[in-house]
Symmetry: C2
Subunit: 340 residues, 2 copies
């Protein structure tokens, strides 16, 4: 008997992928291995399907996560997978496992967050399953989405010399988590304390508790007539997710440390926690921004966009990701990311 | 604060339904309230989406449920929802929460069952999510399916005088559960005992551990050119699921106790457990057979089918389900069903 730990989560997923037979349904266009599965809808439109499982004590800590934010986030992380295929969500189901300590009001709060996200991302809550859970809260969300056949973006189609772009800024969600965890420890040590979370930290905490899926960028890319060659959402951290793009595309990458977009608040909090802001950006995870590649000539259309940053370029050295400093020095980087 | 128990699962689902806004996406044809959600695929074909959450200690007991059977069942119960819409499954995602006590071999067994079901029902495993669980095993499955636009069967379209039909036989899964539970208690009392489950009980235990979704009946109904006016799958028990059909269709029903199909083994085991076989059939649940209605003239095509039984007819007395005896006496029946 082999304990699961010897394989690790990545190893387990690889094992499941390898043991899964190739799709047989004519309507299945892409199975396991991208942000969402892909199936035929009609001549112009492609269907997308993604699912995520959030478990109390693993993915969230109800001592500091408000249920309304949790409901919103549970939807957003799935919608983010649809956005990573350059698609928009249409239908959503919610499976909910509830322990008996939950109140009706608590369920109402959770659903208020789910519905706020459905509103924000223009997706219909169409079904689900509600059941008892012996221990904590379990949230299973599946989302169906759509994308025009000629607009879908996979992970395995980046090309050498493509410009690597990210939306927004990175590392903030990770530092938000550090702030919340510290607050929790202080509260446990002294339950009478007043919350010390200052207003200035609201951005970081918001990025952790209530991340946004970048469907706005899907719209903007359409409006700018920019079609990425490949795209993924940043859930595990830039290093890990960029490695996915590279491995699946058969490319390597060079990224410039100076170019990685990091918010001022992230810098400040990183200093406080004695964490390198670059490490937070590379390995922190949960930013739910989009990472995509475009041919150099197409980047012209994006270079003045305030929320899109070019951070490097794809190379033809498979799987090798180099971090380049201002001084021109290049060091290979390892993906760490989350293992949940 | 209101404890969840005061509302009950049914009450909670109603509350969620009432709080859910009407669908806004043009592609959403039907939201919450049927066996599966319904969305546009193309001019001829309609898409179906359903999800189920299975939690250890609530839906299954790993002391007597083999993981391979559990994997199969987890797929079958979802496929059954697609069959209830007169559709066939095409794509499936699996979300898995695993506690650290699981071994790699155990996960392989579970997936072997999932893959056997994918093979049996001709559906592609296209994605999912694997994560740690703090306590027990959590399985979240979502299935996408298809049905021709002119063949879909909803719950709310049965008409008075329609003949009520069921496939297969009822109550066996419930008695299989009783056998397994008794075995477990005896084993806990005396761990050295030899299993006393005789070969003859294999049918009942099989119906509990590894139920089949009735996609075969979907094919047969097509071949016979029979289109039900309404259909639902029997997961909660005949009384409860028939009440769903009636409530949503604005009808009542009369069913004949003599006509309810019950296997000989179910009769024998019911006697042993001092349970009324009729009660097992009406309230036992988990049979995953199909319950459907057809206009009287269409029933002609089905009357010689060995696996389809007419058990009664729809009336125009809303929500009233009467059980009629041979002697002609009618008594109202209450839906009990499972509350999980």
């Amino acid at each position: 008997m082999t304990p699961l730990q010897t394989l690790g989560e990545r190893g387990l997923i690889q094992r499941i992928q390898q043991n899964t037979p190739a799709p047989k349904q004519p309507s299945t266009l892409r199975g396991i291995g991208d942000d969402a599965a892909v199936f035929t809808l009609n001549d112009q439109i492609i269907g997308l399907l993604t699912t995520d499982l959030l478990i109390e004590g693993i993915h969230f800590d109800l001592t500091y996560v408000p249920l309304r934010h949790l409901g919103f986030k549970a939807v957003a992380v799935n919608v983010s997978d649809i956005a990573a295929m350059n698609g928009l969500p249409t239908q959503l189901t919610v499976g909910l496992g509830l322990s008996s300590r939950f109140t009706v009001e608590a369920v109402d709060e959770l659903y208020a967050g789910i519905q706020a996200a459905c509103e924000a991302y223009n997706v219909d809550l169409v079904g689900g399953d509600t059941t008892t859970s012996r221990s904590g809260l379990v949230i299973a969300i599946s989302v169906v989405g759509q994308v025009a056949q000629n607009k879908i973006t996979y992970r395995n189609t980046a090309k050498p010399n493509d410009v690597i772009c990210v939306t927004g800024d990175l590392g903030a969600a990770y530092l938000g988590l550090q702030l919340l965890e510290r607050e929790k420890q202080e509260y446990l040590a002294n339950p009478d304390m007043q919350p010390a979370l200052s207003e200035e930290r609201a951005y970081l905490i918001g990025r952790q508790l209530r991340p946004d899926a970048r469907t706005d960028m899907v719209h903007e890319l359409r409006d700018l007539d920019v079609l990425p060659t490949a795209m993924i959402d940043l859930s595990d951290g830039l290093a890990s997710d960029l490695l996915h793009l590279c491995t699946q595309s058969g490319t390597g990458a060079v990224i410039f440390d100076e170019n990685i977009p990091i918010d001022d608040q992230t810098y400040l909090a990183a200093e406080e926690f004695k964490i390198s802001p670059l490490t937070a950006a590379l390995n922190g995870g949960e930013d739910y921004e989009l990472l995509f590649t475009v041919p150099p000539q197409m980047f012209e259309k994006l270079k003045n966009h305030s929320r899109i940053t070019a951070i490097g370029y794809m190379t033809n050295t498979p799987d090798q990701i180099m971090l380049a400093t201002k001084a021109g020095q290049q060091t290979p980087i390892q993906a760490q990311g989350w293992s949940q």
